[in-house]
């Protein structure tokens, strides 16, 4: 009796779960496996020669300095953007979580994370409008300053960094806010009443306790930034060649899909490595 009930439960569970997971299998997990296989092929679907399994696509990455240099460039971009997001975002989350109360806090919090759910492409486009020469920045500065200036940040490395920070800042604010909110205020009050200076409270209580949120936010920024291609394309122009844009090229311009697959997989390996390094801290948070 018990066994048949068990079986019926199992049957129902499978019935409820399998549609979702079959879908994920066909649209995510099989494609990722197919890409791994593809990255060892000598020719893509558009070639006519005999296809062979080769290592050449990965060798190209290691032998030609071009690709590894670009990956390094993308990793550095990721580090810069992540650092800026943490430095700018954490104090903002602190102000929200610890100094503002009630309905105001809710409303301001919503206002801060709202852009993060709106279309990222459109937000990058909006920076293109702001940063172009002869644009809004020029006009504003020239009104404020007594002398003529001309600022044209468009198509520079800085433009890419500004756009990416704008895109991903809300992630850091969100995760920091959640961990900061969980810190009991009486802990801080206790330290203060025992005479701890502000710096000690920050370094010994607030920062250690909000570390998981900072790490989570950092990972949420770093991973997509290393794989970004749309932002550098639009804001960076010729200064915007990164690992992501080269992968994009392999699929939409050069049509060297096997090389593209190998580069994508290299990126995935890097991403997984980062997630593995970060996971102990993230697990502790749960």
């Amino acid at each position: 009796m018990g066994a048949t009930l068990r079986q019926r439960d199992n049957f129902r569970a499978v019935l409820l779960i399998s549609p979702a997971y079959l879908w994920l299998l066909v649209a995510v997990f099989l494609p990722l496996s197919a890409m791994l296989f593809f990255s060892f092929l000598s020719e893509g679907p558009f070639g006519d020669g005999a296809r062979q399994l080769v290592l050449q696509n990965y060798l190209e990455f290691f032998e030609k300095g071009f690709y590894s240099k670009l990956l390094w460039r993308s990793l550095k971009l990721g580090a810069v953007v992540t650092a800026l997001c943490l430095l700018i975002g954490f104090p903002c989350a602190y102000v929200l979580a610890k100094t503002i109360k009630g309905r105001w806090r809710e409303a301001l919090f919503l206002l801060v994370i709202l852009p993060f759910w709106s279309n990222s492409l459109v937000r990058i486009f909006s920076w293109a409008i702001v940063l172009r020469g002869n644009g809004v920045i020029d006009a504003t500065l020239n009104k404020l300053l007594p002398f003529e200036v001309s600022v044209n940040l468009m198509f520079t490395y800085s433009a890419v960094v500004i756009g990416l920070v704008h895109s991903y800042l809300p992630y850091v604010i969100l995760t920091s806010y959640l961990t900061l909110q969980a810190i009991d205020d009486s802990l801080i009050d206790a330290a203060r009443s025992l005479g701890a200076p502000r710096r000690t409270i920050l370094l010994r209580i607030i920062l250690p306790l909000s570390l998981p949120g900072l790490v989570a936010g950092g990972v949420l920024v770093f991973v997509p930034v290393v794989g970004s291609f749309m932002e550098p394309r639009i804001l960076g122009g010729r200064a915007g060649t990164f690992f992501g844009t080269v992968i994009e090229d392999q699929f939409v311009a050069v049509f060297n899909w096997p090389l593209g697959a190998a580069l994508s997989f290299t990126l995935l390996a890097v991403v997984l490595l980062i997630l593995a390094v970060a996971s102990p801290v993230l697990k502790r948070a749960q």
Binding site: P45, S118, I129, R132
Partner: protein, 261 residues
């Protein structure tokens, strides 16, 4: 104490600056969509001409229609499949459950560039190719994990004894789901559905790799238009999109209650 007050005030100023940084570009973009000058010349001369032109631009209208129906179908499929899976996770204990739950994270955590190109390769290999069907397949897969996570969160507040009570009173499994479980998790399901819609409607990367030229979604169309050189017409569409998606997220926030615990 005076020091404290100064710090408080500084904090607020800082928060204000962050909001300026986050919103000013969007406002500038929106303002330019009402500017008569095709080259974004200042000062702004007000016109609604660019919006009027949208109605006659069949490429933009087609793309908008594509975006809307793909997002709607994605929402229906992802919400149905995702809610079913979340309920199963909640109700039953079975081998491999933990692994299945962990498998929800790769689609969220792996950069879309990688997922998108992998889908392109695979869909080509099995004969689906590029086009709306491929885009739909991809969007549902991206939205599913979000729906499952959001509905699961709501289920944590649900007392399983309610299901047992209904069952012991003779309700069938379907009746328990329909009249006890679903009404309770309805806000979670709604939030999940809105998430699914947002994921699909704002999705650029995966759509970009999977759509066919001439049969694209709005973000893909905007991307290729930007790369050709921009016109205030793009500002007008972009403004509509951003107002629409922000309004939707305000609704989601009311259902999902972010930031409150």
């Amino acid at each position: 104490m005076a020091m404290n007050r100064i710090l408080m005030r500084l904090g607020r100023v800082y928060l204000g600056l962050i909001l300026v940084f986050l919103y000013v570009p969007i406002m500038v973009m929106a303002a330019m969509s009402f500017n008569a000058s095709e080259f974004y010349q200042l000062p702004i001369v007000f016109t609604t001409d660019w919006y009027a032109r949208l109605w006659n631009n069949s490429a933009i209208l087609d793309a908008a229609w594509n975006s809307i129906w793909i997002a709607s179908v994605t929402t229906i499929i992802a919400t149905a499949l995702g809610t079913a899976a979340a309920i199963a996770f909640f109700r039953y204990d079975f081998r491999g459950k933990a692994i299945l739950q962990v498998l929800l994270f790769p689609p969220i955590a792996i950069p879309w560039l990688i997922t998108g190109t992998a889908m392109l390769i695979f869909f080509f290999a099995i004969g689906i190719g590029r086009g709306s069907r491929a885009v739909l397949l991809g969007h549902v897969a991206l939205a599913l994990p979000y729906v499952i996570v959001v509905v699961t969160a709501r289920l944590r507040t649900f007392d399983p004894q309610l299901e047992e009570a209904a069952r012991s009173l003779g309700a069938s499994s379907w009746e328990v789901t329909r009249f006890v479980t679903l009404p309770w998790i309805a806000p979670g399901v709604t939030a999940g559905a809105l998430f699914a819609f947002a994921v699909s409607f704002d999705q650029f990367v995966v759509s970009y790799f999977l759509s066919k030229p001439g049969d694209v979604t709005l973000p893909v169309l905007i991307y290729s238009a930007i790369r050709k050189g921009f016109t205030p017409e793009i500002n007008a569409v972009s403004t509509i999109i951003i107002v629409f998606s922000m309004a939707m997220m305000v609704v989601v926030a009311r259902y999902a209650k972010f930031g409150e615990r």
